[in-house]
């Protein structure tokens, strides 16, 4: 970026400076200066540290202007000056009635999008009255067994006005089918329905582990749904390619970046293989990243993600529509960084993490509640989390200018390093036979487990300080946070309700729709259309998943995925 003479002068100055600094350097305030991902950070970043050095083309090739290729500085021309990020708080617990109340509370408090958490039985494809659902109904999210539950969940909420995100993966098609049926009943045309489905099965095998079927038929479910939405639900974001859970499972920032983008490129390749045109589906792909505690490392990660996606989509996959080049993303602050000790400190952690997401140019943001390591978030904690975003948006001044840290030698150097390290992972994944082979062989899982173990050991050996956990500890601390509990009655009510739904529907219509789904799953045709037909006649989620389980089998993790490498 700079001319030769300047770099020569800088090098000379630096060597003088280095001699003087050497004296102070003998004393260190801590043994290592490193990131949350255990990456060592230099003492000082200067212009010569930025890749390209005095190459004048560097700026346009690697940074450019916001809203323009390669989008390092942001996906929109004017960013938050035109529209703030969407403040999207994830919610869901108990019965659909209870979550419906929470949704209305969020909208009334100024939230601008909804985000649905489902309970584990729903995510694993079991109805609430299944034996494997025992003790889990309504715990980690809301229970949704059939269209009847989705009708209650969005009662009084206009699906033509709100944008809804649904965090569900293996049964994602079924959840979307229920949602579209509610829109149909409200008289909202499908092309007005807006939202996002997580629908990222690859990261389930890698990190979150809520998988049902083996990888290959699971990918078919996704490409079928993408194909349907391209034709009928054009405003729906079909997959939210998620690094969040990969990071929560213990990955470093680079692992999160590389594994997530590798997953994204796998979906692109699968859809192209299925005969779809990249520019028809790629504009609806979006990403979901974690905001962990290392401020600059996170900002560099988001900037690198935009640049990598733009370059690959354009150069490798031949996308011509600029919208296909965009890495639009949602961010959530890191649940795994929160501590059960002195939980109020989590408010500060969340604020810093959220700020990194905003400085990194996120399109939407969820801020975690301070009490999450203790139990499900209480209403008060949820409100503070939302207020944190509002303070960043309206008081900090951060949204006034685009990419305020662009041009920081440190941030640019870190962005370049992230990109290079992610590229090295892409090469290794390729060498190992691609993403599916790496999943089946446990490569990602072992890499993540190794990072998680190293992080824990750094804490235990006090190489890394976590306030309130291994330093600044308060003995005999009394935790004064109200804990939200799910009434065991929820499970009973929900089980009774799904039985009632089954008893009251048209049995012949359900039988025929499920038989059709089985035939499509075993042969050819679009699985999403068959699922939509089952949903309309009140076929349950468990029934549909059972059909697919019988046709495709259930996935079991290989032992090679269960150890640290």
């Amino acid at each position: 970026m700079y001319d030769k003479k300047f770099i020569e002068k800088l090098t000379a100055k630096l060597s003088e400076w280095d001699k003087v600094a050497a004296h102070s350097r003998q004393k260190k305030s801590r043994p290592r200066f490193f990131t949350v991902s255990s990456v060592d950070i230099d003492e000082l970043y200067t212009p010569d540290k930025v890749t390209g050095g005095d190459n004048g083309d560097y700026y346009f090739a690697n940074l450019g202007l916001p809203g323009e290729y390669p989008y390092t500085r942001g996906v929109h021309h004017t960013m938050y000056r035109t529209r703030l990020w969407t403040m999207r708080q994830f919610a869901g617990m108990g019965t659909p009635q209870q979550t419906n109340q929470r949704f209305k509370y969020i909208l009334a408090s100024g939230g601008t999008g909804l985000s649905t958490a489902f309970d584990l039985p729903t995510l694993m494809g079991y109805d609430s009255d299944h034996v494997r659902s025992l003790g889990e109904v309504g715990k980690c999210g809301v229970a949704v067994d059939s269209l009847a539950d989705m009708e209650i969940l969005f009662d009084g909420i206009d699906l033509g006005k709100v944008s809804t995100s649904m965090t569900i993966n293996s049964p994602a098609s079924i959840a979307l089918a229920f949602y579209l049926c509610v829109a149909e009943k409200q008289g909202v045309p499908f092309d007005k329905v807006r939202g996002t489905l997580q629908n990222d099965i690859l990261k389930e095998y890698i990190a979150q582990k809520e998988f049902i079927y083996p990888p290959r038929p699971s990918i078919r479910l996704i490409t079928d749904m993408m194909e349907y939405c391209t034709r009928n639900v054009p405003q729906w974001n079909t997959i939210s390619i998620s690094g969040y859970h990969i990071r929560e499972a213990g990955a470093t920032a680079v692992q999160e970046l590389a594994f997530t983008l590798a997953d994204g490129f796998q979906y692109v390749e699968s859809a192209i293989e299925a005969g779809q045109n990249v520019d028809e589906f790629a504009p609806r792909l979006s990403y979901f990243f974690n905001a962990h505690s290392d401020f600059f490392e996170e900002i560099a990660k988001y900037r690198a993600a935009r640049r990598i996606v733009a370059k690959r989509m354009k150069n490798k996959y031949g996308a011509k529509d600029p919208r296909s080049w965009l890495c639009r993303f949602h961010t959530q602050t890191a649940g795994c960084s929160l501590t059960a000790q002195q939980p109020e400190n989590n408010i500060i952690r969340v604020a810093l993490q959220a700020l990194s997401g905003v400085l990194g140019g996120t399109q939407s943001l969820h801020t975690n509640s301070m009490d999450e390591t203790l139990a499900l978030p209480s209403e008060k904690a949820v409100k503070i989390a939302l207020r944190t975003q509002q303070i960043i948006a309206h008081e900090s001044g951060v949204p006034n200018t685009i990419d305020p840290l662009g041009g920081s030698w440190f941030v640019e150097a870190l962005t370049d390093k992230m990109e290079a390290e992610a590229e090295a992972y892409f090469e290794e994944i390729e060498r190992r036979g691609g993403v599916l082979a790496c999943v089946e062989e446990g490569f990602f899982q072992r890499e993540i487990a190794r990072s998680a173990y190293r992080f824990q050991m750094e804490i235990e050996e006090r190489e890394r300080t976590i306030v309130g956990v291994n330093d600044y500890v308060e003995e005999d601390e009394k935790i004064d946070i109200p804990v939200l509990r799910i009434d065991p009655q929820v499970e009973k009510d929900q089980s009774a309700f799904v039985k009632k739904v089954r008893a009251e529907r048209d049995p012949e219509a359900v039988k025929a729709a499920l038989a059709k789904l089985r035939a499509v799953a075993a042969g050819k045709g679009n699985t999403f259309e068959a699922i939509l037909d089952c949903a309309r006649v009140y076929g349950t989620l468990g029934e549909m998943c059972d059909v697919l389980r019988e046709e495709w089998g259930e996935y079991v993790e290989p032992p090679s995925a269960m150890v640290a490498s």
Partner: protein, 137 residues
């Protein structure tokens, strides 16, 4: 102690959060224990059966889904039914203090919550297994 401690680690229920249990497995191995990790989605009968087959000193389970008040008692019941209640049952996860107390009263030897170190659990397991062995000798 001359004999190596044998411990079965398991994830019951539908919960897929396995970061913690894999860290524990690696730490126990590094501490010289024999570790058998069952993997995800084990039912109480599967866990107790594996513990008997593997002739372990202890069973450690990790639950982060909130289903602990259902799953721990189910494992304890199964252990009793199979005559395996000489095996030590301990666990960890996101478990509120009140529940932790109740579980420990019920017969779960120890419940670890966020912030506990691997060292804490290694120390606990060594002491508890030694105490049990001395008692039964």
């Amino acid at each position: 102690m001359s004999e190596k401690i044998r411990v079965l680690l398991a994830k019951p229920g539908l919960d897929g959060h396995d970061r913690g249990i894999k860290v524990i497995a690696a730490a126990f191995r590094d501490a010289g224990m024999e570790v058998i990790y069952t993997g995800l989605r084990q039912t109480p009968p599967m866990i107790v059966e594996a513990a008997i087959q593997e002739d372990v000193d202890a069973i450690g389970v990790s639950i982060l889904s909130g289903a602990h008040m259902t799953l721990f008692p189910a494992i304890l019941d199964e252990m009793k039914a199979r005559g395996a209640d000489d095996i030590l049952l301990f666990g960890g996860g996101i478990i509120p203090d009140d529940d932790k107390e109740e579980l420990e009263k019920m017969g779960v030897a120890k419940v670890f919550t966020p912030g506990a170190t691997t060292e804490d659990s290694i120390r606990f397991l060594r002491e508890a297994v030694t105490a049990r062995k001395t008692r039964s000798d």
